[in-house]
Amino acid sequence: MKSRTSEYSDSELYALMSTERSEEAFSELYARLSANVFAYCLRVLGSRDQAYDIFQETFLRFYQSAERHAHLENVRAYALTICRNLCLNEKKRMQSGAVEFDELMYNPGVTREAERTEMMQLITMALELLPHDMREAFVLREYDGLPYQEISDMLNIKLDTVKVRVFRARQKIKEILEPYLNEMSKD
């Protein structure tokens, strides 16, 4: 028996949550996964209010899912899949092709230094301009740090397709930010 929950792997914690309904296990998994899920919600949906709702719903379903699954190999991908499905449903419900950029979408809880970084705000704006499939692949790769293969499995698309989407997303963001990047390089 390990003395701290931080010493358990994601799969072990999920198993604990499944068999014992362990609050501590959920708490530890939340600590590990919440940033990934939150980043996905916020950067893919673009709306803070929607992101908050989907974030809550994701973890509620994630905890409930432990009743059905005793074991999971990739818990993070599973949580993100729940989140993605909820995001897609939300997008369909809203029936709006483009999500209006929310100036306050930036989490008020982030550090002040980060808030003041113009570059980060521009990245956020650039992400809003990307097509959904590119944005999703980019967020999963860059924000959530998933390997290409995991993204491929999660999105149920070919590995090469994932790479192409991420590649195009990067290039697109670079093009959008090019004037700013050039200005920055002069300084």
Binding site: S6, S34, G109, M119, M120, T124, Y143, K174
Partner: protein
């Protein structure tokens, strides 16, 4: 160019083959445009990484999730950082609770200590009044027929004057006896102007009226004159000291050192880390009890145990990802302390003190330095108010982190 761009992306993903590396680096060294593109991709990646690190769910969202599942607020959970609001506002918000607590503590201390302080002031006034009277008598000793005007201020003054009158009577009695003995033992020869002593024989004039009656006069007290010869003296200072000791025994006679002491204190401190996760509070939060052994008025050693929460913000690795943890766990701490108390400020009962504490918690070692003021009125009680800084060291995944706090402390100690 397209090939080189692909290589840059592969490099960023950590998937560039060893075979392609020399080609890419060679091209980067000569191709300015490619170098610019590489820098731009690095800048984007860096910004995304910072953005990702800043994207943590706010505390209220975390609480909503947990309360939705029927759980208590998490000990560890990602949470928001500090909100904006200028430089001073966060500090004022942080220090608001400590300042209010200190004000409350000072109020309680003053309320508790006011009664004995006033009583002492009355006694001191009485002593001063009496001292004036006595000094007046002293200055008049040896002179003839002088008077001092005085108005008694309290019953203590009355007692003092009564004592002085008693002393006066004793002296007069002694003088009268000495005179009668002298007259009785010497057979007076026939008075002869040639053998007469140049110094007249000592004489004590009887009081014109009883002293008790003098004291009854409301406006002024006329201390009757005393004629003292050079063969008699009146040590006023010694008599005064004796009288003061009788009136104020508590201040002059105090428990000698060494002595054990039991201290209870509360504290209100703010973390210097920006962690917005709510405290994991317990009923005995921000409270400490200490047992001190005061070896001298200046030096004391002791042990202390208390409980408080510490804001912790640290990064860890999980599944190849960097995760930021933020938590405010409550922890019981314990350890040893040394206190140096400087001398009283002037003639007040206030003494500055410094205290160093070294101990530990379940998370790691704990150090604390306190600078404050000790108020020790008469009796075994004393009160402290001070500022203190705390530093906790803790370890996570083989990396050490620290959590620091500053705040105010206030408490009470009793000598056993």
């Amino acid at each position: 160019m397209q090939q080189h761009t692909t290589w840059i992306h592969n490099l960023l993903d950590g998937e560039l083959s060893a075979h392609d590396e020399p080609s890419l680096f060679g091209e980067l060294s000569v191709n300015t445009d490619l170098r610019t593109e590489f820098k731009q991709q690095l800048a984007i990646r860096s910004a995304v990484q910072h953005d990702r690190m800043a994207l943590v769910p706010p505390a209220h969202l975390t609480n909503t999730v947990f309360s939705g599942l029927g759980f208590a607020a998490p000990m560890a959970g990602a949470a928001a950082g500090a909100a904006g609001g200028g430089f001073m506002l966060p500090w004022l918000m942080k220090l608001g609770l400590p300042i209010l607590s200190a004000a409350a503590a000072i109020g309680v201390t003053m309320a508790v200590s006011n009664a004995p302080t006033n009583q002492n002031a009355i006694n001191t006034n009485a002593i001063n009044t009496n001292a004036i009277n006595t000094n007046a008598i002293s200055s008049n000793a040896g002179e003839t027929a002088s008077s001092v005007a005085s108005t008694p201020a309290s019953s203590d003054a009355e007692e003092m004057l009564t004592a002085l009158r008693g002393e006066n009577r004793r002296l007069r009695g002694a003088l009268a006896n000495a005179q009668s003995d002298d007259q009785g033992n010497q057979q007076p020869p026939e008075p002869s102007p040639a053998k007469q002593s140049p110094t007249p024989a000592p004489q004590v004039q009887p009081p014109t009226e009883p002293l008790a009656d003098d004291y009854q006069r409301p406006a002024s007290v006329a201390v009757s004159s005393i004629d003292l010869t050079s063969s008699m003296s009146f040590d006023n200072s010694r008599d005064l000291q004796t009288i003061e000791t009788q009136i104020m025994p508590a201040q002059m006679t105090y428990t000698p050192y060494p002595s054990p002491m039991l201290q209870a204190r509360g504290f209100a401190a703010s973390s210097l880390s920006d962690v917005n996760v709510p405290n994991q509070s317990v009923w005995y939060e921000n409270f400490a009890v200490a047992f001190l052994y005061q070896v001298s008025p200046k030096h004391a050693f002791g042990v202390e145990v208390g409980s408080e929460s510490f804001a912790q913000s640290f990064d860890g690795e999980s599944n190849g990802q960097t995760i930021r943890y933020e938590q405010r766990p409550s922890s019981i701490w314990w350890g040893g302390l040394y206190r140096y108390t400087a001398g009283s400020i002037g003639k007040t009962a206030f003494s500055p003190f410094m205290q160093a504490f070294a101990g530990g918690t379940q998370y790691g070692p704990l150090g604390r330095a306190t600078l404050g003021m000790q108020y020790s009125p008469s009796g075994p009680l004393s009160f402290i108010v001070g500022i203190e800084g705390t530093l906790l060291g803790y370890k996570f995944q083989d990396s050490w982190f620290t959590s620091s706090k500053v705040g105010l402390t206030y408490g009470m100690a009793v000598r056993l």
